[in-house]
Amino acid sequence: MNRVLKYAWYQLIVIIAATIFAVVTLFIAAKYWRGKEFSAVIPFCLFAFVHFYRVIFPLKPGEIAFDERDVDIKNRATRISFTIFWYVFALSCLIPILVIGNGSIHVMYLGGVLLGAAILIRITWTIDVIVQYGRGGKGDNS
């Protein structure tokens, strides 16, 4: 498995773990700690571990970080993840109009949309990279 594919798997696992942890924390906070549901955002700090990949898995001597094919795959994944994000974001801005109409919407809805968008972009990116490499990437060592 090459380094970019390993990074994609690592990112996917960290994001899913942080999301599950945050949902569980939100549930516990809503049930036992009313008024402090905002604390559910704190577990999302685990997302920062996504950027510690190079610290946790440093480049070994002689190991290639990435080549032209890896760059192409990463760029394509970035474009696809932003395109999907745009459609989902546009829908999340149109659906409240249909549901609420002329009412009012809490400002934290936007914060939720932004957080959801950040998670969606990362997850889409990792899935796209994994699909392009072919999941296990057997025999694929850069």
């Binding site: 970035t78 932003f82 809490h106 968008a117």
Partner: protein, 144 residues
């Protein structure tokens, strides 16, 4: 100037002019009518986006010479990535502005929401065009 430079300039001018005209049009409308489509702002936005959409038809491919090569592909891919980055940062900034405008416990009408992705699209086109022009060179001397 090659075809892609002309298209980048055209997109940049259309979106910037459309944004300025939208703001001026918003100023001429009463506050209650600004968010209710269809109105002058909607017309300006639709015209701008349609013009950007048909830019490749307005600036047709020439019969002579190569229109698009690997270098152009590389420039477009890089400009596209810059555009999407600008879009993401623009979205975050717009949402933060809304948050600070109404406060943490405030609310706003849902009709204001579609403005955010439209601002994002405009920013994306501006950043993408500027990135393409920086890579090609802003004006003369670039022929495919």
């Amino acid at each position: 100037m090659n075809r892609w430079q002309k298209i980048a300039w055209f997109n940049l001018i259309v979106i910037v002019a459309g944004s300025v005209i939208s703001v001026v049009a918003a100023g001429t409308l009463p506050p209650d009518e600004r968010l209710v489509p269809p109105n002058r702002i909607t017309v300006v936005i639709v015209i701008s986006l349609v013009l950007v959409g048909i830019a490749k038809t307005i600036f047709r491919k020439s019969d002579k010479g190569v229109d698009f090569d690997e270098r152009d592909g590389q420039i477009h891919r890089r400009a596209d990535l810059f555009g999407w980055t600008g879009f993401g940062l623009g979205m975050a900034a717009t949402i933060m502005v809304c948050y600070f405008a109404v406060g943490p416990r405030g609310s706003f009408p849902p009709l204001a929401l579609p403005v955010i992705p439209l601002v994002g699209v405009g920013l994306k086109i501006i950043v993408e065009s500027v990135a393409a022009l920086i890579q090609y060179g802003w004006a003369k001397g670039e022929k495919s």
